[in-house]
């Protein structure tokens, strides 16, 4: 979360004073990022719109209680991540088990990389292609919710491990384990699609 901006702080302080134009400008500046986060977490346009609306209604509601202990963008994205999680739980009618449950067991038995091959093209070039964007959406949506949310906050939004843990109410070690699982699963999925079959390597794991 590098873009802590003095401009946002100024807008926040004027919003608190009752200046609607400042609040609208603050929303305008953050809504694209919040929508991107919500799209990645929920995987659906309508759900993402719900999350964005809930997020800014919460921001408006709690305008006076933001403590300013970090960039406002981080605060808003945290709210959005939690609304996203709430929506996922509702959508899947999951019992609201704590996110941390069973985290200890996740550290053992990491899946070994199976499809190992250098990629045919560089990420910057791949990112331009519509079919790759589709692949990224699919790969993310196939991840278990609890891994996807961690990956989106840490690797897409650039939260630190600690910020991710605080945002989701997880321990840092749970975040690390989930992040590793998310990265390994996405690597596997993307490399199957983007790897150079002719240069594929078959890992043996038989050496020290």
């Amino acid at each position: 979360m590098s873009d802590s901006s003095a401009a946002h702080d100024e807008l926040l302080s004027r919003s608190r004073g009752g200046d609607y134009a400042s609040f609208a400008a603050l929303v305008e500046g953050l809504q694209g990022r919040v929508y991107g986060l919500a799209r990645r977490i929920t995987g659906r346009r309508e759900d993402a719109e719900d999350v964005v609306q809930q997020t800014f209604l919460s921001v408006l509601e709690h305008l006076d209680t933001f403590r300013g202990d970090g960039p406002i963008a981080g605060w808003v994205l945290r709210i959005a991540a939690n609304h996203g999680l709430k929506l996922l739980r509702k959508r899947r009618a999951l019992p609201t088990v704590p996110l941390d449950a069973a985290a200890e067991n996740e550290a053992v038995g990491l899946p070994h990389p199976d499809y190992v091959a250098p990629w045919r093209d560089a990420p910057a070039e791949l990112a331009q292609r519509a079919e790759v964007r589709q692949l990224l959406d699919e790969a993310l949506s196939e991840l278990d919710d609890k891994y996807r949310v961690v990956f989106v906050l840490r690797d897409v939004e650039g939260f630190s491990v600690r910020e991710t843990a605080e945002a989701l109410g997880l321990t840092e070690s749970a975040v690390k384990v989930r992040l590793l699982r998310a990265r390994l699963a996405l690597r596997e999925r993307l490399t199957r699609a983007l790897g150079d079959e002719a240069a594929r390597i078959y890992p043996t794991h038989d050496h020290g």
Binding site: Y20, A24, V27, R45, Q53, R183, L184, R187, P203
Partner: protein, 81 residues
């Protein structure tokens, strides 16, 4: 360091959080293990690709609807305080 141990330390290595001795052991293993080299490259590429992803455009119709909803809520909030 074995391939398994490398896997466990992968995040810290990719994020630059390994301490120096551990980082050396990691690098020594990598130097002699091409599957692990490729896995580490793949992981870095995976992260870069997601970071380089195009932003999702906010649908215009939703932008207008959001703006109206927030304006209404704003009026209610400041009218009552």
């Amino acid at each position: 360091m074995t391939c398994d141990e490398l896997l466990q330390a992968l995040n810290e290595y990719v994020d630059g959080r390994l301490d120096l001795p551990e980082c050396r052991r990691f690098a020594d293993h990598l130097a002699g293990c091409s599957p692990c080299q490729v896995v580490v490259d793949n992981i870095r590429q995976t992260i870069s690709l997601f970071k380089a992803g195009e932003p999702y455009p906010l649908p215009d119709e939703f932008r207008d609807r959001l703006s109206q909803t927030l304006k209404d809520r704003w009026r209610a909030k400041f009218a009552s305080s």
